[in-house]
């Protein structure tokens, strides 16, 4: 099995889907809405992008389909629900750590602080 670091850097769609599934299992449309919200509308996934990414993530073992709902309120028999696997959690953590280190390094550069003053405060 591949190590989490071997997946990095993640494609944008993959990272956003992993983050959307962080709190718990979701169906496709819930993932799409959460990605919308997470990115302030900057990342808008169509059905092809979403399910193309889901297909690859299932094959890589980052997510899995769930057969039973942890929350009966969520249950909608027509839909397929997905959740993070252990590997998916590790990969998203590794990617977030990588991005955090990147922002920290960029923030220490003077020119970057001029461009984005908030970077210097971090």
């Amino acid at each position: 099995m591949k190590e989490p670091e071997e997946f990095l850097p993640l494609p944008s769609a993959t990272l956003h889907i992993l983050l959307a599934l962080g709190p718990g299992e979701k169906h496709g449309y819930a993932i799409m809405r959460d990605v919308d919200a997470l990115s302030d509308g900057a990342v808008r996934m169509g059905p092809g992008t979403l399910y193309g990414s889901v297909k690859r993530m299932l094959a890589d073992g980052l997510i899995e389909e769930t057969s039973s709902r942890t929350d009966p309120e969520l249950d909608d028999q027509r839909r397929r629900y997905y959740r993070l696997t252990g590997l998916g959690s590790k990969v998203s953590a590794a990617e977030l750590a990588r991005l955090e280190a990147l922002v920290r390094r960029a923030g220490s550069a003077e020119w970057a602080q001029r461009l984005v003053p908030r970077l210097g405060e971090a």
């Binding site: 496709g28 449309y29 799409m32 808008r44 996934m45 169509g46 059905p47 092809g48 992008t49 979403l50 399910y51 193309g52 889901v54 297909k55 027509r78 839909r79 397929r80």
Partner: protein, 239 residues
């Protein structure tokens, strides 16, 4: 247009995706589009239409590549590369052949790396002589490899500037070395060896006005591709 018509239009467009993708996700995609349509009305098409344009070719390519064996995948990509080189040379596009070679070789390397074939490029190697006589086309490949190394040395003296001397001779030496290493690796790992030989002979194609390198490269490719990419090692001394 009523929502049902939008849904029907989207359902028809889903036929553009490969059958396997439709089978696995078609129903989900229809439902997701229906949800989006309910929330955003016809504006749903604003994100769905570009999505179709972007993802249909990707899924088609993935499905096509998945249906090939690893050897056929390399062959398909190689045919695209050579075709692109031939077209660009045919249209006299100046530096385009060089750019196409760089892009093609980079694409081929990426594909081979992704499939784990390049990782197997290292490892046990046969001595040069049995490697150069392992198949009917192998002596030609060995000659082309040595010629590239000689050409690399010649470029150091012949190039008009230091960029040409350093870049041209390094690239040519690298291709020559990959050719010889591929021949030596092939008896132990046919797929990796064949991939290295195909890669290394690619630069010979655009020099069509010299005739010989191009013909030699074509013969090598025919020999390599005819030998197949199965994982069983080729005997080290067969002819």
């Amino acid at each position: 247009m009523r929502p049902a018509r939008h849904q029907a239009a989207y359902r028809s467009l889903l036929w553009l995706y490969p059958r396997s993708f439709r089978r696995d996700f078609g129903a989900d995609m229809r439902q997701l589009f229906g949800d989006r349509l309910r929330d955003r009305g016809r504006l749903a098409w604003l994100e769905t239409a570009p999505d179709l344009v972007r993802t249909v070719p990707v899924q088609r390519l993935e499905a096509t590549m998945a249906s090939f064996s690893s050897g056929a995948r390399v062959l398909a990509l190689a045919v695209i590369v050579v075709g692109a080189v031939a077209v660009s040379v045919g249209f006299g596009a100046g530096a385009a052949p060089l750019l196409v070679i760089i892009a093609g070789v980079a694409g081929l390397v990426a594909l081979l790396a992704q499939r784990g074939i390049l990782r197997r490029a290292g490892g046990e190697r046969a001595p040069l002589w049995p490697a150069a006589t392992q198949a009917w086309w192998a002596p030609l490949a060995a000659i082309l490899g040595v010629a590239m190394l000689v050409f690399a040395v010649g470029t150091v003296f012949e190039a008009h500037n230091w960029g040409g001397r350093i870049f041209g001779s390094s690239v040519m030496a690298a291709f020559g070395a990959v050719m010889l290493l591929g021949l030596m690796r092939r008896p132990f790992d046919r797929a990796a060896g064949n991939a290295m030989i195909l890669l290394a002979s690619t630069p010979a194609f655009p020099f069509f006005w010299l005739v010989v390198p191009t013909v030699v490269a074509i013969v090598i490719w025919i020999g390599v591709l005819a030998s197949g990419f199965d994982e069983a090692p080729a005997p080290a001394t067969t002819t």
